[in-house]
């Protein structure tokens, strides 16, 4: 048994695995970067870097995630071999520790990091960010509580055709009839389902070919409400960015239903005081943007300027000046890209450790080299 285990560990910690995985990672980075141009950033990331397998026709190849797990195990097992813990290998060990920290950072980033954006209109406040990529189907209980609204969110993963959504506090069920990643609204021609409610009476949703960049898609949903109230039961439609949510009344309680980008609430608020943009002379191309904001936390205000190369970092969130929008009424809104990345410092720490390791190994080897 020990022999077998020994053999397994020998295989797992083989330096050849390290060399091949690194080469394979380089290939993935190259192919992923090239294909990103055609399939978009999000799809390329999912296909090449966050996947376990990549299907090359019917041949499964290791995806970025699997490759990095193999790399991690290989390095880790190498490090745990007792006979590597010698003074003359101290530098190599430190380099390995540095590489492991880098991979741990990558793992933390891939599991816990969030990329979202925050749109704030001048003189208004916001305390939530919304996802670039993911949507959610939200049900808001508007009346049950005097001072608050209860929000039940169903993540995009659940929005598959014929899926039934329910939650104990909701007196109705939602059956997803159709969910389109990208959709268009057209006047209704097809009347083979009934009863139709709300916008669905006059309009119907049609599927559209998804855009290359996922955040450019206008997702749409057709759902059925199943409850004890015949006046409410029926088929509804909703398209992303539709201004008004669908409001239904059951047991004298109003519920708002809508599809929206996935929201994450922040433990503080941001108020936009002033948004400034400078254009390149004679063009409509923006040269720089900046947002003067108040960071409002526990009723104290801090005035901060966010510029294109000067983000705001607060409580693990980084706010970058990303873009701006002009509203129909002439007001301006700032668009801040918000990144929550707990693994942000890992690349810096691991690089320093690896440099120390290489330097130490060189120093250790100097006496030997001098003897020669």
């Amino acid at each position: 048994m020990t022999k077998k285990l020994n053999q397994i560990i020998k295989i797992i910690s083989n330096p050849k695995i390290f060399v091949f995985t690194i080469i394979w990672l380089m290939i993935l980075v190259c192919v992923g970067t090239v294909e990103q141009k055609d399939i978009g950033l999000f799809a390329a990331q999912n296909k090449y870097f966050s996947s376990i397998f990549i299907w090359f026709y019917s041949l499964p190849l290791p995806g970025g995630l699997l490759t990095m797990v193999i790399l991690f195990i290989n390095l880790f097992v190498f490090l745990l071999k007792p006979y590597h813990w010698r003074f003359n290998k101290l530098g190599v060990l430190i380099v390995h520790i540095g590489a492991l920290i880098l991979l741990i950072g990558a793992g933390i980033t891939s599991v816990f990091s969030k990329e979202s954006n925050m749109v704030i209109i001048e003189n208004e406040r916001s305390n939530y960010m919304h996802s670039f990529y993911y949507k959610e189907f939200s049900v808001l209980n508007l009346d049950e509580y005097q001072d608050s609204i209860e929000v039940v969110n169903f993540k995009e993963k659940l929005l598959s055709n014929k899926q039934i959504l329910s939650y104990p506090s909701l007196p109705f069920k939602i059956k997803i009839e159709k969910y389109f990643l990208n959709s268009k609204i057209e006047p209704r021609v097809n009347n083979n389902i009934s009863p139709l409610r709300g916008d669905a009476i006059k309009f119907e949703l049609k599927e559209k070919t998804p855009e290359k960049e996922i955040n450019e898609n206008l997702s749409g949903i057709m759902y059925q409400i199943i409850s004890n109230d015949n006046d409410v039961d029926g088929y509804y439609i909703y398209q992303l960015e539709q201004r008004m949510p669908e409001i239904i009344t059951i047991n004298n309680m109003n519920y708002a239903l809508l599809l929206r980008p996935e929201r994450t609430y922040l433990p503080f608020e941001i108020q936009l005081l002033d948004f400034k943009k400078t254009m390149h002379p004679g063009t409509s191309i923006a040269k720089s943007f900046s947002s003067e904001i108040f960071l409002i936390e526990k009723e104290t205000l801090r005035r901060i300027l966010i510029e294109m190369n000067a983000p705001l970092r607060h409580k693990g969130y980084t706010f970058y000046q990303a873009s701006f929008a002009e509203l129909e009424d002439g007001r301006e809104a700032t668009v801040l890209a918000v990144v929550q990345n707990y693994g942000r410092l890992f690349p810096y720490i691991s690089s320093i450790i690896m440099c120390i390791g290489v330097l130490l190994q060189m120093i250790i080897r100097i006496p030997k080299l001098l003897k020669k």
């Binding site: 209109i121 993963k157 009723e299």
Partner: protein, 191 residues
């Protein structure tokens, strides 16, 4: 040797388990109801006091009987500009009377309410909408910039008026105007 193998296996298993996401697909939370629109004045709670954020280089002076707070503001041309915050009950005499009083202080002719409002800038903050009056006399190089923030008790009556006023030379006040605007926007009630 055996224990070494088991340690390796345990650590790998723990790491693999840690790497697997176990996120809930349904989230539930409560958000505060927000019935106010951006232009409505925020409600002043009982015992709430006025609070603000001033730039770091503004030097706070001790408050006096009439002034809620005062600042000395250094400028690039070595002038010290005086800024005061005062609060008076009701409309404190109204816009026309107050603006013409300030105009008189820098030797400007009085104006009627329509002209005054035409030249005023309308701004909004967490206290609601307010006016900024930028008065300057080119002949004697004197300026006064005032923010007049009416705090509404209800839609019809003003419960108190907040004045934020700064005096100085034309150049200094023009230089400080942006800072002044942001300072006014920072006004809010603190519980």
């Amino acid at each position: 040797m055996k224990s070494y193998h088991s340690i390796v296996l345990y650590i790998i298993l723990i790491l693999l388990q840690f790497g697997c996401k176990s996120e809930s697909n349904i989230t539930i939370y409560k958000i505060k109801k927000n019935n106010s629109t951006p232009n409505q004045n925020s409600t002043k709670q009982k015992n709430a006091r006025l609070n603000w954020t001033a730039p770091n280089n503004w030097i706070e002076k001790s408050p006096t009987d009439f002034r809620l707070a005062s600042y000395d503001i250094p400028t690039y041309n070595d002038e010290i500009v005086d800024l005061s915050i005062t609060v008076f009950p009701g409309d404190a005499g109204g816009i026309e009377q107050n603006v013409n009083r300030w105009r008189k202080q820098i030797n400007l002719e009085p104006q009627n309410i329509n002209t005054i409002l035409k030249n005023a800038q309308k701004e909004s903050s967490m206290l609601g909408e307010y006016f900024i009056f930028d008065l300057n006399n080119q002949n004697n190089n004197q300026s006064i910039v005032v923010a007049l923030i009416p705090y509404l008790k209800d839609e019809q009556s003003i419960s108190e008026t907040i004045f934020i006023k700064m005096n100085g030379s034309n150049d200094s006040l023009q230089e400080l105007k942006y800072e002044f605007k942001l300072f006014c926007k920072s006004m809010h009630w603190l519980q």
